[in-house]
Symmetry: C2
Subunit: 155 residues, 2 copies
Amino acid sequence: MEEERERYVEDFAVMFERFGLPRMMGRVLGALLVSNPPELSAGGLAELLRASRGSISQTTRSLVQMGLVERLTKLGERRDYFRVKPGAWDDLMRSQLESVTTVRQMAERGLEVVPPDAQSARQNLEEMRDFYGFWEGQMHHLLKLWKQERGGSEQ
Amino acid sequence: MEEERERYVEDFAVMFERFGLPRMMGRVLGALLVSNPPELSAGGLAELLRASRGSISQTTRSLVQMGLVERLTKLGERRDYFRVKPGAWDDLMRSQLESVTTVRQMAERGLEVVPPDAQSARQNLEEMRDFYGFWEGQMHHLLKLWKQERGGSEQ
DNA sequence: CGAGAGTTTCAATAAATATTGAAAATATTG
DNA sequence: CAATATTTTCAATATTTATTGAAACTCTCG
């Protein structure tokens, strides 16, 4: 991997880290993203990223579970390969939509927990509920729209 | 703070933590959210959450900087108070929009880094760019829409 | 079934992060 | 300006999280 792409992978990892996810996940995803050919083996990733096989194993599992990466095998070869899953970004956004739902529910639970006469707290929580309720609906709609317009063939 | 609200604040903190932010931030924000009256002093927060003053100080600063909490003073009183900032959720979503922009830009940079003949990598990156470009535009639009419909009076 | 290629597990360790608490700084009052 | 209330800073520490590497495991092939 030449200098420039190594730099890219590292920066990708830092970005990922800022989203609260392990740096190594960003490295692996970044490496797969710019790899040619598009799939790499666990061993290949370990070598490319100068990381232990153990940590590649753990990281690929997490990425597969998150739906960002898929594992594939090749006829006549023992090793497993990994590549960026088509539709990965859509999946990621879908999990963000789940977070939005969680926040909305937390607002609703807040309204149950707060005394009926706590006006300002109720107002805060109602705004929170309404806002996240709004996003919940809109995101749902937009995910559908995207799939309709662009995702017709894949998956 | 009674049992039920303490539980709520802790659960709120765990949710916050899952988004990659410090647990204490979630505690402080959760406590302010369900507090009646709506503002609490640094000392009050420390006592309520059984946390050190130092960590309350650090946490409130971060929350203020993130735009989720505001500091206020009261005439005739020395201490500072904190409360949930009106429009906090909108601000938070705006910072998520910034993240979306960052991801889109990272996709574009990927396209510069990858050789012209690396078909599949280019396809990956183009899908990423288009997807996040789409969300960028849509989120921008929705934030405007929300402000128009609901945020007319505040701020 | 045994050998070899490859992957996963997991205890140990390294690294990063959050939290405390005491001292320093700051602001307000009389 | 001294006394007091309050907040901030920061070095030390506790806690959490990521990473390694060696051993165990799994699979495939001859």
